[in-house]
């Protein structure tokens, strides 16, 4: 019997079989967690900087990014059709020669990212502002992309 033979093999005893089953169970749990995590779903990282949150309502798309320490004029925004480009460089200024660092977790560097919006936008009316290190963009949807209410006529 195959099963019998398997258990006879050294290193393939009961203990290891259970460990293997435990490992599989954990993997399945992980998979189901990512697939059905309910309303509190974890954010999906694209791996691109900056991380963006996009929301919409009837009239606008809203894009937000956390860019602490950056000034409005250090960020370059460009729109082409439905694509929005965000680029810039985060600089961390030198604190002098005689300082001794204990921790350095904040990072500096260049970034560039292009994101495509799901619908047509009105590029001339985009509003961008920077408050407390958070970039907020309000992007009006073009008239064609806005949902239209259709009235049903009664004959």
């Amino acid at each position: 019997m195959l099963a019998r033979r398997k258990f006879d093999l050294p290193g393939m005893g009961w203990k290891n079989t259970f460990a293997e089953m435990e490992r599989m169970r954990r993997e399945i749990d992980l998979l189901t967690d990512t697939l059905f995590s309910g309303p509190q779903s974890r954010p999906i990282s694209s791996g691109l900087f900056p991380a963006l949150n996009i929301t919409e309502d009837k009239d606008n798309y809203y894009i937000r990014a956390e860019l602490p320490g950056m000034k409005a004029d250090e960020i370059d925004l460009q729109v082409k059709a439905r694509n929005l480009g965000i680029s810039g460089e985060r600089k961390i200024h030198s604190e002098g020669e005689n300082v001794k660092y204990h921790r350095r977790e904040r990072e500096a560097g260049k970034f560039a990212r292009v994101i495509e919006l799901p619908g047509e936008i009105d590029a001339d009316k985009i509003n961008a502002h920077m408050v407390n290190g958070v970039l907020s963009l309000t992007i009006p949807k073009s008239e064609a992309a806005k949902p239209k209410q259709i009235t049903i006529k009664t004959v």
């Binding site: 779903s41 954010p43 999906i44 990282s45 694209s46 791996g47 691109l48 900087f49 900056p50 991380a51 963006l52 949150n53 996009i54 929301t55 919409e56 309502d57 009837k58 798309y61 809203y62 937000r64 956390e66 860019l67 602490p68 320490g69 950056m70 000034k71 460089e89 985060r90 961390i92 030198s94 604190e95 002098g96 005689n98 300082v99 001794k100 660092y101 204990h102 921790r103 350095r104 977790e105 904040r106 990072e107 500096a108 560097g109 260049k110 970034f111 799901p118 920077m130 407390n132 290190g133 958070v134 907020s136």
Partner: protein
């Protein structure tokens, strides 16, 4: 620093022990830079979305606690299209090994970065204890 590298996304680190927080919501660990000169210790913390009056800095028994509250910035009738980061409070504690002049602490929040200057206290004078022979 002249060299400039490409910035990578760092996932926001959630505070591991949430047992102490009474209010619901996510709590993150802010990224910090800490450096020291002869006279002071400076701490820089990234707290995007935190307004100046929503930061609490507490120093007692050599434990420095930073808290930053974030007011939700999304409108009520907005629905998510893409979510790449979460919004939450910031919380971090440090234990200071050096004596700090508590009344001279300076805190400044600009563009979502907290800058905290902790001036060191003059070191306690070393005392010499004479041992008397009986």
């Amino acid at each position: 620093m002249a060299e400039s590298k490409e910035l990578q996304v760092k996932e926001k680190q959630e505070v591991a022990s949430s047992g102490e927080h009474t209010r619901p919501g996510l709590v993150f660990t802010p990224a910090v830079d800490i450096f020291e000169t002869d006279r002071e210790i400076t701490l820089l913390a990234d707290m995007p979305g935190v307004a100046a009056n929503d930061v609490t800095i507490d120093l007692r028994d050599d434990i420095l606690t930073l808290t930053g509250d974030v007011k939700p910035w999304e409108g009520a009738d907005e629905s998510d299209v893409l979510v790449e980061f979460e919004i939450g409070k910031y919380y971090r504690q440090f234990s200071l090994s050096e004596l700090i002049k508590q009344d001279k602490i300076e805190a400044n929040l600009q563009d979502g970065v907290l800058r905290l200057v902790l001036p060191k206290a003059e070191k306690a004078m070393p005392r010499k204890i004479a041992v008397k022979a009986a």
